[in-house]
């Protein structure tokens, strides 16, 4: 019975409580509390669901991209093994300790990556070998990856031009 009375008050709350009303009845006090807390929890619980869903989608997209990249790398390795010796590790005098060079930000799209990779790696290795000879330190090219996002590839010429104008324009 009391539950029904409270339910009735909750329905009446839909019309709102008069702000100047004093004092509030017991059902109104608890009605506001229950409805308020319920709506806040419901709203944020919906956000939990939506954001979790988005998170899962992005994780699976990232996982797929990673798997594709790994598969491409494995294929490339096989192709290299079958073909002539790759230009890879540059070993100059082995007197100094080996310092890995951080990967160079090579701009390459996915479609061109497979065909141009060997040439790009050869060029990078040649530059690294020159550096090795110059300072007497042994460097090793461990990986060459296409830079993801940013750079010029992520922005259209129009956007770049707009940005340039914005930066140069002084108000």
């Amino acid at each position: 019975m009391q539950f029904l009375m409270l339910a009735n008050h909750l329905i009446m709350l839909a019309g709102g409580i008069d702000g100047d009303k004093r004092p509030l009845s017991g059902s109104e006090r608890w009605g506001v509390t229950l409805v308020g807390l319920g709506v806040v929890i419901a709203a944020l619980a919906i956000l939990v669901g939506v954001i979790t869903l988005f998170g899962k989608i992005f994780e699976s997209v990232n996982a797929n991209q990673k798997a594709k990249a790994e598969a491409a790398a494995a294929e490339q390795k096989k192709a290299k093994a079958a073909a002539a010796p790759a230009p890879a590790p540059v070993s100059a005098p082995a007197k100094a300790p080996v310092k890995p060079v951080s990967p160079a930000p090579v701009q390459a799209t996915a479609s061109t990556a497979n065909t141009d990779d060997d040439e790009v790696i050869a060029v990078i290795s040649a530059v690294v070998a020159m550096m090795s000879e110059a300072d007497g330190t042994v460097y090793q090219v461990k990986s060459v990856k296409p830079a993801s996002g940013g750079g010029f590839s992520g922005r259209s010429a129009w956007a770049m031009d707009g940005r340039r104008q914005n930066v140069n324009h002084t108000f």
Partner: protein, 404 residues
């Protein structure tokens, strides 16, 4: 000749501030209270960026002036029915702080502050662990249970809502709600007293929260180490503000102004293409609005508004609201810890009472007291920023349920 001199001097005396002080001695008390707040802001550094403008605004509005045209703030203007004539009167006859207070009355400043907060907030920890939203929601229990407590003290619905929102530990939200609910209401309370209580307790978060946190958790629970959070992608961070605004606006349209501006600020930041706007919102705009908001809200703390029993009730219920909010967040975090098999440190629950980033820092500090190698800060930032969204939603609910 002597009579003329006497008349002139008498007239001068009767228009002087000293004469005004003899007529309104309570103003002197208010000026002393403003000095106390200035001391707390400058020497103790309790929320100085807000407490100092508030206390100086309080000082300015309590300066004794006999002639109404000399007054820097007219408290009586803000209890009148609002109309075009009223607006003209405020603009034409009002003092400087009356004109600045229009930004509070029209709910402009709180929304602009939320824009600035959005540009400074990283929602990454919340995106990485969306369950933190629930902790932010639970901590809003402080708001609604305080509503009941205020109602039991015989307050009206508008007063209950205005006091209860202090439990959200969010200054702009408290100002936003109270300025709407108390607008023209027959009440001794006003936006200034609510804001003063809210900012005072926010400054006292390091004092109020730790005892409750220690009382409601065991040493073993406080020592729980949580796994490292994943790093959300840039795309996720850009989609997040759009999704949150959409969901909140669909469910609680009254909260759309606050949440919308918060998320607008955030998307400006996360997009990475509006660096100049972000810089302005974070610095210049935020600082200007803080000065206007602080001084004008402080100006509403006149003797008639503060020296009464209702203000004492606001102070008492404010502590209750903060304490209950902290306890609700902690208790839900304890429940989540049990359900997850001991993977959630309950201390992060107390950060659900927005107060960004102070509440998260308290979680980190109390956790580090038990185990100095335990780093809870990033885990606590999730519930902390969820608390900002939660308190804005709670504000929207109060504004929807209470007719003003």
């Amino acid at each position: 000749m002597l009579q003329i001199l006497q008349d002139i001097l008498g007239g001068l005396w009767e228009t002087s501030g000293l004469y005004g002080l003899t007529q309104h001695p309570a103003n002197l008390l208010m000026m002393c209270i403003s000095f106390l707040f200035m001391y707390l802001a400058i020497v103790k550094e309790f929320e100085p960026l807000l407490l100092l403008p508030i206390s100086f605004g309080m000082f300015l509005s309590n300066l004794p002036a006999v002639l109404t045209e000399d007054m820097i703030f007219h408290a009586e203007y803000w209890n009148m029915p609002q109309s075009v004539d009223w607006l003209w009167m405020v603009l034409h006859d009002g003092g400087l702080l009356d004109k600045l207070y229009l930004g509070v009355k029209l709910q402009i400043y709180p929304c602009l502050i939320f824009l600035g907060i959005g540009t400074m907030t990283d929602f990454g920890p919340l995106i990485a662990n969306p369950k933190s939203f629930l902790l932010g929601a639970a901590a809003q229990g402080g708001i609604f249970f305080t509503f009941v407590a205020a109602a039991y003290l015989g307050m009206s619905a508008a007063e209950c809502g205005s006091i209860a929102i202090i439990g959200g530990a969010d200054g702009p939200t408290s100002i936003y709600v109270s300025s709407k609910l108390l607008d023209g209401a027959d009440s001794n309370l006003n936006t200034g007293t609510i804001a003063l209580a809210a900012y005072t307790y926010m400054a006292l978060v390091p004092v109020i929260q730790p005892p409750i946190m220690k009382a409601l958790t065991t040493k073993e629970e406080r020592a729980i180490k949580m796994p490292q959070l994943r790093t959300p992608s840039k795309t996720e961070k850009i989609i997040f503000p759009v999704v949150v605004t959409l969901v909140v606006a669909l469910l609680v349209p009254s909260a759309a102004s606050l949440v919308g501006m918060l998320m607008f600020g955030n998307i400006l930041k996360e997009s990475g293409v509006c660096s100049r706007l972000v810089d302005t919102a974070q610095n210049a705009l935020m600082n200007i609005v803080t000065i206007f908001l602080g001084t004008s809200v402080g100006a509403t703390c006149t003797a008639s508004n503060v020296v009464n029993l209702d203000f004492v009730k606001v102070l008492g219920l404010g502590v209750v609201a903060f304490g209950l909010g902290t306890a609700c967040g902690l208790l839900l975090a304890k429940l989540m810890n049990k359900l997850s098999g001991g993977k959630v440190n309950p201390l992060i629950g107390s950060a659900g009472v927005s107060a960004v980033p102070m509440a998260a820092r308290i979680s980190q500090k109390v956790g580090a007291e038990t185990d100095p190698t335990n780093f809870l800060l990033m885990h606590a930032m999730g519930p902390n920023v969820a608390g900002v969204i939660g308190s804005a939603v709670a504000a929207g609910v109060l504004l929807s349920v209470i007719n003003y």
